[in-house]
């Protein structure tokens, strides 16, 4: 049963009242003026002659005074930024507490909706599986919850191909990638495909498995392979070193992305606040 953290309400309310330099994010949907949607922003898109189906209120009366002809002013459409929430549903997520994982995503989604953002959810493993587009308003949170509840965590992860696919298909500006990042091909440079990226790394440290010094069989559900090793002091050191090297790929600060490493025992609320704050950095 997926619920929304009860603190989300307060977080979104407090954040909306927070004094910020600029209201963010507002963006114009397309970079190509031809395809820019007309709207109600202050950015002038076009001037054209009045047509019978046009609203009279859109007639530029000053221009009419100078030219004695009816012209209509068109402005670009303005809307809050759409966030793409990319949800990893590969089998490796089974290591993690899936309820925690889903509640986290649902709560983030709820906060964004509460802040009048539009969210698109994309579930993937080695390919894009399901999408849930254009969710607006917090009253539609049930769509998000339904989407998350329908997920099955199986198959392997191929983050690179999925990110390329999402980038080419939806051209998202900002993504929030919910994943354990267990993809050996993943490199942070791939995130340059997006203007802003938020890596929410759900990581269970191998030390938290509470392994005893004994022979240990580690099963990878994605690869459907087993590694049998003697988890002794020597191998423990080696495992921890490999884990450190693995994590060090994402741990550094980058302009391209914001990185959050989340343990399934951690309090979620501080992450919500940090993510929101990162939006305005």
């Amino acid at each position: 049963m997926i619920t929304i953290d009860k603190e989300c309400e307060a977080v979104s309310r407090l954040f909306s009242k927070k004094s910020v330099r600029a209201k963010y994010p507002v963006y114009v949907k397309s970079e190509n003026p031809i395809f820019k949607k007309k709207g109600t922003s202050y950015d002038l898109k076009n001037l054209r002659e009045y047509q019978p189906f046009d609203d009279l209120r859109q007639i530029d009366w000053k221009l009419y005074g100078r030219t004695d002809r009816f012209y209509v002013k068109e402005f670009f459409e303005e809307e809050n930024e759409r966030f793409y929430l990319l949800v990893d549903t590969s089998a490796s997520l089974n290591i993690f507490d899936l309820d925690y994982y889903k509640i986290f995503i649902a709560s983030i989604a709820y906060i964004f909706l509460k802040l009048h953002f539009t969210i698109n959810l994309v579930a993937f493993n080695y390919r894009v599986l399901e999408i849930c587009m254009n969710v607006k308003d917090e009253r539609n949170i049930s769509r998000v919850i339904g989407f998350l509840e329908s997920l099955h965590f199986e198959e392997k992860t191929e983050l690179v191909s999925v990110l390329k696919s999402v980038s080419s298909r939806y051209k998202p500006s900002t993504i929030l990638l919910f994943s354990d990042l267990f993809d050996k091909n993943l490199h942070p440079e791939i995130l340059s495909l997006f203007r802003r990226s938020f890596l929410l790394h759900f990581h269970t440290a191998i030390e938290e498995l509470d392994l005893q010094f004994a022979e240990t069989e580690i099963e990878d559900r994605e690869l459907e392979k087993r590694i049998l090793l003697s988890y002794d002091a020597l191998n423990r050191r080696r495992v921890l070193r490999l884990e450190r090297e693995f994590l060090s790929r994402f741990d550094r600060r980058s302009k391209n992305y914001h990185y959050f490493r989340i343990k399934d025992t951690a309090d979620r609320v501080p992450f919500y606040w940090q993510i929101l704050e990162s939006l305005y950095v």
């Binding site: 240990t216 002794d232 020597l234 490999l242």
Partner: protein, 510 residues
Amino acid sequence: MFSFFSYLFLLLIPILLILIVRLKRRQRVIYSHAFLRSFQDKKLLDYLLRTFQIYYDVFFDLLLAVVLSMFLAQIVTFTPRRTAICIDGSYSMIQGDKQTALERAISLLGEGKISKDRYRLFLLAWDTGRGRNRLFRLKEIKLPTETDQAILARAVRSYTHDLQERYTFHNIALSTLQGLFDRGFRRVIFVTDRFPRGNTNLEIIEVGSTPESFFQPSSVSYDFSSASFQMLLYRFNYEKPIAVLRYEEMLGDYKVILASEQRIPGSDLTLIEIKEEGLYRIIGPGMDYIYDLKIPQITAAVSGRYSRIVADVLPQIENGGFQILIADLPYRGETGRTLSKKIRALGRYPHRYITLIPQRYTKATPLIHPLERSFSQPSYAELPPEIAELSMESTRLFFQDPERTRDGQTPLVYLSYLEADHATVFSNPSAQGLRGWKASPRHSGITSLVYTRQKDTIPINLSAQEFFPVSLQQDLVLEPRQINPLPYFLILLIIYLAKLAFLIRFRLGY
């Protein structure tokens, strides 16, 4: 006996049980291999190394089990297939008028006639320092490659002489040869002058001269029923009648008497009956036996008398250069002068003399002890009580029929003889014994060694077997060493240390 596989099977049971328990208790976790891929084996070597890291203890346990099974099943014995040749270092080996048995042994060894294989040479001799038999390692004998027999004989004699100088040829205990098997020799050749007849796993090379015919007194006792002395003699191919002489006061010499002699059927023993008491002489081939036979109604009180008598007679005997054996001759009613006269009468005969002492004299106060001790210390005529029993032990009588060997009934308490010119062979004051024991020069001679420490005294007498070529029926089957445990111990130690090293490396990460 279990076979190798039986032992291995038994030893594998606990290892398998441990493996099963380990398998049951194996940790199984689900985790991504994203950063654990390096644990996946790319090569066979990787697989072997990783498997070794997991199962190294089982691997070493298996090795230990295999080595232990080999040890228990004695598959590999680690015993060298070497040959040991051991020379008998008993007193009889250096006896002989022309050529001693030791010289013959050295000659054979030098000519390589005993073994064509490579061998190690030992001498089983008496260790005066330790007071027991010991195997001495000898260097290989190399005789000159001369064809001249005289040169060869001189070399052999020289080598023999060196051996006699360095080692003590006294009693030997054949059981000491077990030490050669214990050292891992599989073939032991024992070069001796004569060997007890019986089963043995030694290879015996007898280099003793064929014993000439002889007879040997076994016992003398007084039979009250027939009122005669019963003298039992053991004959060895000695078919001649035995001459019995009695000392005649009138003549001042010995005179042949008639003594009834009868063979004991089924044995080589002869019984001689002598009616009268007196000083008797039995003439044997190269050896005379002197008996002072007295009807056992006289209680001897002989303290100190013997020593005085010997002291009187001693200078003349020594000057005579004879091989002398002196008896206990004290008896009441005879003066020392008379007795000296009687003994001096023996001096004409260049023979060895054996004295047999009637037991009745020694029952309460043993008087008999190695004669060379009497020579050097006449005052010791009375044996100290603490060594009296030990001295008695060496007087066991041996018969052709081993079942008849006994101590009781016999009046013989000591058999010995002396070669006066060798009296100082063992009188070496520097001979150190066991932890404070030393062979006392006062109490040592050819036929005995006396070990003293403060008040304790242990006399070790030459056994009668060294003088009489009597071979008893005796089995001597020594136990060959089945297995040499030292290499196994070292292998097991190395395996265990290796296991420990890997344990430290893996478990503690050093």
